[in-house]
C-alpha cells in the first residue's frame, strides 16, 4: 500500500517555487500543452502544470474558467482534446477513468442512497481480493478517521451535509489512491461547517500525504488550504504560486482583482520608478514599463496606511503627493465591519475615484478618524502595483 495509515513524514519541504526547475525530483503529476475544445469554444488553452508528490493544490477561478474541466480531464471523465498527462511517470492521457489511480469527492457527495454508510465506504474495497474481515477492519478504520464511527449503520439521508461529505471523503481514500481529487467539496455546506471541514480535510491530507487537487471558487478556502494555488480564468492559467505569493505578488490584474480586494486607477508611467495617477506623481516599481506607457495602478485597501489628521491639511487637500506617496484625503463614509473599519476616501490627487481603505479599529481610535475629517494616508510604494492597461 502506497499510503499506509501510519503517519509518514509529509514532504513539507517541497519547493514552493512557482516553476519547479529541472534539478528537483520528477513531479508526481505533469500536464503538458493540454487543450480542451467544445466545438468552437475553447475551455482549456494550452495548460501546462507540474504537481509534486504530496502537494495540496487548489484550482481557483470564477465559474466557467475551466477549473472543473481540468480536474475532469485529470480524472479521465472528460477527455482533453490534446495534451498529455503523466502521473507518477505513467502516461495516463487517454486511459479510461477506471484505469487511473485516484479517488474523487464531488460537491453533491454522490453517496449511494440505498447503501448504508459502511456499505458506501466498502463499495470500492469489495471485489478487490480483500477478505470480509479485512474490508470490515478498513471501513472501521476509515470511519474512525473521519470521526463517524457511531454512524456506520445509518443511511446517507440520515446524516448532515458535513457528515455526508466526510463519508464521501472516506470512500474516496478507502482504496488508498495516489491522487485525491476534490471537486468543490465544501460549496454545498453552511459557512461554519465549511470552515470546520476545511481544517479536517487539510489535516487528513497532511496525515496521509496524498497528493491532492481541489477545485474551488472560494479564494478564502484556497488561501487557507493550498500549498500552491493555480489561478485560472477563461481557460488559461493566470498564475501558479503559494497563497502568499498569489496574494502579495499577483502577476496579472485578474489575479489581483480576484484574490482579495483592490483599488484600481488609470495611471501613466512618467519616469523610471514614477507614475502619474490623477494629478499626482507616485513612486512605485515600474520594472516592465517604459516612460509614457499607460497602465492600471492597483493598491489593496488593507495596504493603505493612515497617518493621522494633519492640522495644516484641513484646507489643503490637494497638495501634491510627497515622495513617500503621502496624500490628503477626506473621509466620506465609514463602515464598521467588526475586525476593521472600511472607509471611503475622497482624494482629489487621485482624481474622481474614491479610494477604499481598511483601517484597524485601533488605528481609527488612535488617530480619531471620523466621517468628514481629513487625514493623510500613505500608499506604500512596494504595495502599489502596475499592470498593463486592458484594452
Amino acid at each position: 500500500m502506497r499510503h499506509a495509515l501510519s503517519i509518514e513524514p509529509t514532504p513539507t519541504t517541497l519547493s514552493r517555487a512557482a516553476a519547479p526547475a529541472g534539478a528537483e525530483p520528477a513531479p508526481y503529476l505533469k500536464i503538458t500543452d493540454l487543450w480542451k475544445a467544445y466545438g468552437d469554444f475553447v475551455a482549456l488553452r494550452d495548460i501546462s502544470l507540474s504537481i509534486a508528490r504530496g502537494e495540496f493544490i487548489c484550482f481557483l477561478g470564477p465559474s466557467g474558467c475551466g477549473k472543473t474541466t481540468l480536474l475532469r480531464a485529470i480524472a479521465g471523465l472528460d477527455l482533453q482534446t490534446q495534451g498529455t498527462i503523466l502521473q507518477d511517470g505513467r502516461n495516463i492521457s487517454t486511459l479510461p477513468a477506471s484505469s487511473r489511480d485516484y479517488g474523487i469527492v464531488f460537491q453533491s457527495y454522490a453517496l449511494f442512497p440505498n447503501l448504508t454508510i459502511e456499505q458506501n465506504i466498502a463499495f470500492g474495497l469489495e471485489n478487490t481480493g480483500r477478505s470480509k474481515e479485512g474490508v470490515k477492519a478498513r471501513v472501521d478504520e476509515l470511519l474512525a478517521m473521519v470521526g463517524l464511527s457511531a454512524h456506520g449503520k445509518k443511511y446517507p439521508a440520515q446524516l448532515s451535509g458535513g457528515q455526508q461529505q466526510r463519508i464521501a471523503l472516506a470512500r474516496a481514500i478507502a482504496i488508498s489512491p495516489g491522487l485525491l481529487l476534490l471537486d468543490e467539496p465544501l460549496s454545498a455546506l453552511d459557512a461554519k461547517v465549511r470552515v470546520h471541514l476545511r481544517h479536517e480535510i487539510k489535516a487528513l491530507q497532511r496525515q496521509l500525504g496524498v497528493t491532492t487537487i481541489m477545485v474551488t471558487h472560494d479564494q478564502e478556502e484556497a488561501l487557507a488550504m493550498a500549498d500552491r494555488i493555480v489561478v485560472m480564468n477563461h481557460g488559461v492559467i493566470e498564475q501558479v504560486g503559494s497563497p502568499t505569493e498569489i496574494y502579495r505578488h499577483p502577476e496579472t490584474l485578474f489575479v489581483a482583482d480576484f484574490i482579495g480586494e483592490t483599488n484600481q486607477f488609470p495611471a501613466k508611467v512618467i519616469a523610471d520608478g514614477e507614475v502619474e495617477i490623477g494629478h499626482s506623481a507616485f513612486r512605485c516599481s515600474t520594472e516592465d514599463f517604459s516612460a509614457g506607457h499607460a497602465a492600471t495602478a492597483v493598491v489593496r485597501p488593507v495596504d493603505i496606511i493612515p497617518h493621522g489628521a494633519d492640522a495644516h491639511a484641513v484646507n489643503a487637500v490637494d497638495r501634491p503627493a510627497t515622495p513617500q506617496n503621502l496624500i490628503d484625503a477626506e473621509v466620506r463614509e465609514m463602515e464598521f465591519l467588526g475586525m476593521f473599519w472600511r472607509t471611503r476616501l475622497a482624494a482629489p490627487r487621485l482624481g474622481e475615484r474614491t479610494l477604499v481603505a481598511d483601517f484597524s479599529v485601533n488605528a481609527v481610535r488612535r488617530l480619531s478618524i471620523q466621517t468628514g475629517g481629513v487625514i493623510q494616508v500613505e500608499i506604500p510604494r512596494e504595495r502599489l502595483l502596475l499592470y498593463p492597461r486592458s484594452a
Binding site: R45, L95, S108, N114
Partner: protein, 671 residues
C-alpha cells in the same frame, strides 16, 4: 470585441485524442447495439416497409410477355405474339383489371380463347425484360428465355404484376367516396369527443385541486378504472343500455346508439382517465402566490379563474386535447363494436386488410392515420417542455379553502361522472352474469363458458395472461436497460440520440399501423425473422414496442433523479458498471421499474389494435376474443370476457401495490 481572438488557436498538428475504451465501455456499447437493433427491427424497419408498401402499385405489364403457339405436332412454332397485342385483339382483360395488388395473378390462358388442356398444342412463354415474372403452379420463373409447356402445364401458368412506386394508391383512396368520408368522420368524432372529454376532465381536476370536496381519493380511483378495460367494453355496455334491446333506448328519442352517438359516449369513457391525469398534474402545480396576488387586487372569482387558473393549466389542456384526439382517431375497438355503418379510419384498415386482403390500401390508410398522430405527438412534446419551464422552484403550493356551495357543486359533478363510469362497468357485469338481458335476469355462469363459443375460449384468456406477464417482464428489462444507456452511458452521443429518437417514436404510431407494419415486415418469407410470425414472440415484441415510449419516459425520469456522478465515483473506485447498476441503480429505481411493469401488464391485457393483425389460432387473446365474440353476436360472453380482463387488471394492480410495499420496505429503507 475582436472575435478573431476568440477563435480556437488549436495547434491541430496531431489528431484529436481518443480515450482508450475500457471493458465497461465495450460492454455498454454491445448492450446499446443490441437494444438499438431491437428497436430498429421492432419499429424502424416495419414502418419503413409499410411506407414503401403504401407507395407500391402493382399492374400487369402485358408488353412484358411474349407467347408462341405450336401446331398439333408440337414441332412447328407460330409467330411471336405479345400479350399486349393479343389483348388488344381479344379484349380479354379490361384496363381496370390490369391494376392489382402484390398477390395479383393473371392466367395466361386468358389470351387463348381456343385453349384446351387436352390439346397436343405446345405453348412457349418468355419475358421481354429480366423482371417479367410468371408462376407455373407455385414455381416462380423469370427472364427472357423461352420456356416450353404442354397445354396441361400451360393451364397452370399465371402472370405476375410489375411493381412500381408512386402515389397512385393515395389517389385511389381519395377518389373512393366511402373511404375519403371516413377521414371526415374520424376527424369529426375525434373533435367532438375531445371537446367533451377535456371539458369534463378539466371540471373534475378543478374540483379535486381547487375545492374542499370530500372523498377526493375515492374519485381519483374511480376515474382511473377505464384504463383497466379494453376500449371495446364501453361499446358493449352502450349496446346493452341503449341498443336495440336497451332499457334506456327511449332516452335517445329515436336516434340510434350505433354510430356517432355511441362512438362519442364510448370515447369519452375510455379517454377520460388520460385527459384527467394530464390536467390534474397541470393544475396541481399551481402557485398559491398568484391566487393571493389576485385576491389582494380584489379580482372576482370568475376573473381569477380566467386569468390565473386557465392560463396556468393551458399547456396541460392542449396536451390533454391532443392525447384524446389521437386516442379517438386511432382507436379501433370502440367503433368496431358500436360504430354501425359509420366509417372510421381505424376500422377501414381492419376492413381493408382482414376483410378484403387489400394490404396496399391498408398501408395507405395507415399512413394517413400517422399524420394526426405524429402531429399530436410533436405538439405534445413541445407543450411538455414549456410546462416544465413554467414551474418555479419557489412556488408555494395552493391550498383551497372550504366554500360550501362550490364544494357541493364539485362533489355532485364528480358523483355524476363516477356514476357514469361505474354504471358502464356495472352494466357489463350484469350482462355477464344474467341469462338474457333484459328479459331473463336469473343469474347464470353460462356466459363464462367461453370454450363453447368462437373467439378462442379460456385458452385466449390464458394467452392474454401469458402475453401480459411476458410483456411486463421483458418490457421492463428492455425499457429500463435502454433508458439507462440513453441517460448514463457517456460517449456514443450520436448513438444515444438515435436511440432516444427511436424510443420516442412508438407514441406517434397507432397500434393498428404498427400491427399492419409487422405483417408486411415479418410475414415476408425472405425475412429471416419470419419464424416468429404467428407466435407469442411477435405479440410480445409488438406490445412492448407499442407501449415503449411512456415506459421509456418513466424510466428516464427515475434515472434523471440519480446523481450523475455515481458512475464517475464507481469508475474511480475501479468498480465495473454492472456492479453499480445492480447494487445501486436498480434498487433506487425499483418503484419506477414496478410502475413500468404494471403499466405494460395492464395495457397488454386490454390492447386490441396491434395484436388483432398478429394473433394466430394458437395465440388468440382475450381482448381479441371480446371483439370476435361481439362480432359473432355473442355479446353477453363478450361482456363476460371483458370483465375477466377487468378483474385480472384489478388483481394485478392490487398485487403490484402489495409487492411494491413489501419490496420497498426491504430495499428502500433509506427513504
Amino acid at each position: 470585441m475582436n472575435m478573431v481572438l476568440e477563435a480556437p488557436h488549436l495547434p491541430l498538428t496531431g489528431k484529436r485524442l481518443r480515450q482508450e475504451s475500457s471493458r465497461d465501455d465495450r460492454i455498454k456499447l454491445g448492450f446499446m447495439a443490441v437494444i438499438g437493433l431491437y428497436l430498429i427491427i421492432a419499429l424502424g424497419a416495419p414502418l419503413f416497409v409499410m411506407l414503401s408498401k403504401s407507395l407500391s402499385t402493382y399492374r400487369f405489364d402485358l408488353a412484358a410477355f411474349e407467347f408462341q403457339v405450336s401446331d398439333e405436332t408440337g414441332a412447328n412454332w407460330g409467330p411471336v405474339l405479345s400479350a399486349e397485342a393479343l389483348n388488344r385483339e381479344l379484349r380479354a382483360v379490361t384496363d381496370g383489371e390490369l391494376s392489382t395488388n402484390s398477390d395479383g395473378r393473371l392466367a395466361a390462358t386468358k389470351f387463348f380463347p381456343e385453349f384446351s388442356f387436352r390439346s397436343p398444342v405446345h405453348y412457349r412463354i418468355r419475358g421481354t425484360t429480366d423482371d417479367a415474372a410468371f408462376l407455373v403452379g407455385s414455381t416462380l420463373e423469370k427472364g427472357t428465355e423461352w420456356r416450353d409447356y404442354d397445354s396441361g402445364t400451360f393451364r397452370r401458368v399465371v402472370l405476375r404484376p410489375a411493381r412500381s412506386l408512386g402515389v397512385e394508391n393515395f389517389a385511389t383512396y381519395f377518389s373512393t367516396p366511402a373511404l375519403a368520408q371516413s377521414i371526415y368522420n374520424s376527424v369529426l368524432m375525434a373533435s367532438i369527443s375531445t371537446i367533451f372529454t377535456v371539458a369534463i376532465a378539466f371540471a373534475l381536476a378543478y374540483g379535486l385541486t381547487r375545492s374542499c370536496m370530500p372523498l377526493k381519493g375515492l374519485f381519483r380511483g374511480i376515474l382511473t378504472i377505464p384504463i383497466l378495460v379494453p376500449s371495446l367494453l364501453p361499446g358493449i355496455a352502450l349496446v346493452y343500455l341503449f341498443g336495440n334491446q336497451g332499457v334506456f333506448k327511449d332516452w335517445l328519442m329515436g336516434y340510434s346508439i350505433y354510430g356517432p352517438i355511441g362512438i362519442v359516449i364510448g370515447s369519452i369513457f375510455f379517454t377520460l382517465p388520460h385527459a384527467f391525469l394530464i390536467i390534474l398534474t397541470a393544475l396541481s402545480v399551481a402557485d398559491a402566490r398568484h391566487y393571493e396576488a389576485a385576491a389582494s387586487l380584489k379580482a372576482s372569482k370568475w376573473r381569477t379563474f380566467k386569468t390565473v387558473t386557465v392560463p396556468g393549466a393551458r399547456f396541460g389542456l392542449v396536451s390533454a386535447a391532443f392525447v384524446v384526439f389521437t386516442l379517438v382517431i386511432t382507436d379501433f375497438g370502440l367503433p368496431k363494436v358500436i360504430g354501425g355503418q359509420y366509417g372510421m379510419l381505424a376500422v377501414d384498415i381492419y376492413k381493408q386488410v382482414i376483410g378484403q386482403q387489400n394490404f396496399e390500401m391498408g398501408a395507405v390508410v395507415s399512413v394517413i392515420l400517422l399524420v394526426p398522430a405524429i402531429l399530436a405527438f410533436v405538439v405534445d412534446r413541445r407543450m411538455q417542455k414549456r410546462q416544465v419551464a413554467l414551474l418555479s422552484a419557489r412556488a408555494v403550493p395552493y391550498a383551497p379553502k372550504p366554500n360550501a356551495r362550490m364544494d357541493a357543486i364539485c362533489f355532485s359533478f364528480a358523483c355524476l361522472v363516477s356514476l357514469f363510469i361505474l354504471g358502464m362497468i356495472a352494466m357489463c357485469q350484469i350482462a355477464a352474469v344474467v341469462k338474457f338481458w333484459p328479459y331473463d335476469l336469473t343469474l347464470t355462469t353460462k356466459n363464462f363458458a367461453f370454450d363453447l363459443m368462437d373467439g378462442g375460449g379460456w385458452a385466449a384468456y390464458g394467452n392474454s395472461i401469458r402475453l401480459a406477464l411476458l410483456t411486463a417482464l421483458f418490457g421492463s428489462l428492455v425499457v429500463f436497460a435502454g433508458a439507462y444507456m440513453v441517460e448514463k452511458a457517456d460517449g456514443f452521443r450520436v448513438g444515444r440520440g438515435i436511440f432516444h429518437f427511436l424510443a420516442m417514436m412508438p407514441m406517434a404510431v397507432p397500434g393498428m399501423v404498427l400491427g399492419l407494419a409487422y405483417i408486411f415486415f415479418f410475414n415476408n418469407p425472405a425475412n429471416p425473422l419470419n419464424a416468429i410470425y404467428g407466435t407469442m414472440t411477435i405479440l410480445v415484441v409488438s406490445t412492448v414496442t407499442h407501449f415503449y415510449t411512456v415506459a421509456h419516459l418513466t424510466a428516464l425520469t427515475a434515472l434523471k433523479q440519480m446523481d450523475p456522478e455515481f458512475e464517475s465515483v464507481a469508475a474511480s473506485l475501479k468498480q465495473p458498471f454492472h456492479r453499480l447498476f445492480f447494487r445501486v441503480t436498480v434498487p433506487v429505481c425499483l418503484p419506477a421499474i414496478l410502475n413500468i411493469a404494471i403499466y405494460l401488464f395492464v395495457n397488454a391485457m386490454t390492447t386490441v389494435s396491434a395484436v388483432v393483425f398478429l394473433y394466430s389460432t394458437d395465440t388468440k387473446l382475450a381482448s381479441v376474443a371480446v371483439l370476435n365474440m361481439d362480432d359473432a353476436g355473442d355479446i353477453a360472453p363478450a361482456a363476460a370476457m371483458g370483465m375477466m380482463i377487468f378483474y385480472t387488471n384489478v388483481a394485478a394492480k392490487l398485487i403490484h401495490a402489495a409487492i411494491a410495499r413489501s419490496l420497498l420496505a426491504r430495499t428502500q429503507a433509506w427513504r
